[in-house]
């Protein structure tokens, strides 16, 4: 379960890289349940803008969250992929704008100062990925604000 694992990722661990706009984020692979391609999203009126809508995952109704807005960045405009993560408060989808990929992380290159994130990692030659702190990011309080 997600609650039992450490909140972040670490060097040598497998992580899922999630491209969001021009940025890339990393999630510990064990917190990710699956990636849904082109989720069929139903808009959820009167909800906070960070909730892009809800979609159906094998009969479960799952909220799709705007990853960038959650981090306080500008909203992304499309939602071609949804990364399903398990949190203490249930399952949620995080928007990815390109197909997420699995990598093994190298050493951290430093702390990330963004709220809801932990460390920054170098992936590939010149790409930086910021590790997300799922529990901090996907809390009901943070979503409703």
């Amino acid at each position: 379960m997600a609650t039992a694992t450490a909140p972040g990722v670490g060097a040598g661990q497998l992580a899922l890289l999630i491209p969001v706009g021009s940025d890339t984020y990393a999630l510990p692979l064990e917190t990710v349940r699956e990636v849904v391609v082109e989720p069929r999203v139903t808009e959820l009126p009167t909800s906070p803008t960070v909730v892009r809508g809800v979609f159906n995952v094998r009969g479960d109704i799952v909220p799709l969250l705007d990853t960038a807005l959650l981090l306080g960045l500008r909203a992304v405009l499309e939602e071609p992929y949804a990364v399903l993560v398990e949190t203490a408060h249930g399952i949620a989808g995080l928007v990815a704008t390109e197909m997420p990929q699995t990598v093994r992380l190298s050493e951290s290159v430093g702390q990330s100062d963004m709220e809801g994130t932990t460390e920054t990692y170098l992936v590939g030659d010149a790409r930086l990925a910021v590790a997300l702190d799922v529990e901090a990011l996907l809390s009901p309080a943070r979503i409703s604000r």
Binding site: P45, P48, I61, G90, P140
Partner: protein
Amino acid sequence: MSPSDSIPEGDFQRLFATEAEGRLDTLVDELLELEKGGANPDLVASLFREAHTIKGGAAVVGMAHVARVAHALEDLLEEVRRDRRGVDAALIDAVLAGVDAIRTLIPLAVAGQDHEQAAFDAEQRLRIAVGGPAVADKTAPPPAAPVRAAAPASPGPAGRAGLAHEQAAPAPEPPAAPPVLEAPLPPPPRIPAASPAVAAASPDAPGARAVGPEGSRGPEPASAEPLAAADHPAGDHATDQAAAVHVEPVRASATEMVQMPVHRIDDLVRLIGEASAATLRLGSALLERLKRDPSTVTEYRDLVRSLNELQELALHARMIPVMSLAPRLRRAVRDLARETEKEVRFETRGEDAEIDRGVLERLADPLLHLVRNAVDHGVETPNERRLRGKPIEGLIRLHAMQLGSEVVIAVSDDGRGIDVDRVRAAAGRTDSSAMEMDDEAALYLIFRSGLSTATKITGVSGRGVGLDAVRASLNAVRGRIEVRSDPGVGTEFRIAVPITMATLRCLVINAGGQAYAIPLHSVRAVLPPQPSATVGGRAMTMVDGRPVPISSLARVLGTGNGSEGPAVIVAGLTRSHAFRVDDLVDQRDVVVKGLGELVPRLPAVAGAGVQPDGSILLVLEAAGLIERARRMDSGDRSVEAADGGAQEAPAPRQAPSILVVDDALTVRELQRSIFENAGYRVKVATDGEEALTKISEERPDLVLTDVQMPRMDGFQLTEAIRGQPSLASLPVIILTSRGSDEDRRRGLECGADGYIVKSGFDQSALLHAVERLLGAER
């Protein structure tokens, strides 16, 4: 009597287990009644009978240890019945302990586990309570204990007799009996004795219940001893039912009852749903093939109405009284009061409120939490109460009430109330915003989820125990909880839950290009496109000769424009509201699910259902929707009140209004459609002068103007607006094809709030700018 060879013993044991559970509930309830009201021969007799019947049943199904404890229980109660032992707290404790032991022993016995020691301990305790010697060795209970046929005069409130354990012997029964539901039937249409299940509803047996799932007893004529006939092992099982009968003595004796497996009612509900769907297809066939509008065909309307009534009746058959939970709660109050050395009276009101059985089951734990909290942390110690001049005995009240499609259950106490300052202080350690909350908001911190916070709050306020869990379980049944607290006077928690949770019959409509379901029980009528008039700044339409406010559903939801389609009249708890929709789709049964914990509660959205094609259908909530529409209405009125001018009556007036000023028709209409699609109201003007006139007629919420225009250009218009003190705060956006720095500077100098260059213009950027300036809700 022994179980027939063809049926495995385990099935009888399970059957006995369900029966015993109901009897134990009754026993506890009556016991607490006894404790409250002092010695009452009828009650004692009834208690004795329950114990006796349990003993007999246990022996028959081979649960020797259960029988042994029940026997001890029976003996103890016999002492009371014969006035050889008085009723005191020790007695009540002993009997409760015995009941608990039996509750523990039965499942163990069903599982075939050894439980000798527990039985022995419980029996010892009961023997000690008699005041007699502790029986050292009494291994097997006498399976054929003398039948005390000398039954007391009163057959008990529900006509429940339990005269002799012979009656408790199981009859041949389908294995693994399904849960059984006891439904009150309206008396007038007498059910024909078409099936054995209702055959025993003998008219000459007033107060007797017709009993027994199919095939259990056969169509034999109603017994000459109706009370005995009613006492069938398959009869009283379901826990809640037994209690339900008890708390409603008057009703039960005046109503004929049948029992039937729950799944039969579910089948009924499903079939009615299918019939409704077929009716809708019939309606479209009428329209397509015969060119007749079904709503004008009387026969069709009658059919639809009958089906709706049928559906409602069928759903009602799943209902049981809320107060069937009262025995368990009363017991909890009593136990905890004794443990904490407090004196507490437990009162119930609202015996007639009913709720879906499945919903009620989910409410048991939350309510238990609340009453325990009330005893533990609400009610003060007797000493403290004396010092405060309160009655020594604290009062905890459980009050249930049906309000529209919801049942409201209140748990109140007259204790010390919640110390909001301490809640705030505790929450403030982890969340600085808590310190700025007003009392009301701070009070709700007690529900905050997150274990660490809850624990800390609990530590100081003593009120947080499990309240986040309470809220979470209520979410699962689409319920909500409110709390009110008056320091020194008391606390009240109110739970509101929908009466039914199973499938919800819904009207499906389109609004703003998306389908939504509106629960049918909150739909009062559907009307063809309606004319509306403005009354007091609010659009109204006439429904049945009475004015009802009308709004566009898409606008209220913030997803689109007004529409000219039919109006759905929705009734909330106290008021009605008409919503214009694009069109009607159909009626459907929706299995409503919650949206999960991560999504904040949305008052206008009740939940969602997954459709057969995999899409998600949102189910709207009448009360929340109406509240939202009214808020938008009143927000609109306050804008106009500030203006003070006379107004004419543009139809829907909920959304913010934008005045678009441009001399080019195409641009004007393009912008009109962009903003109307986004849910705004739009007015247009062709130049600055006309714009000023329009503004003086009705002040818009925002002005969007071009620069190059005849007579008065955009800069001049902006300056003119800023020149009037009453318009100083009116947001102005200049939209122009001129991208020069000089123009930009001039635009901002003359007081515009935004300057958007058309070449770099995109729809979402424009909407974003407008939204930001209007401080839109979302």
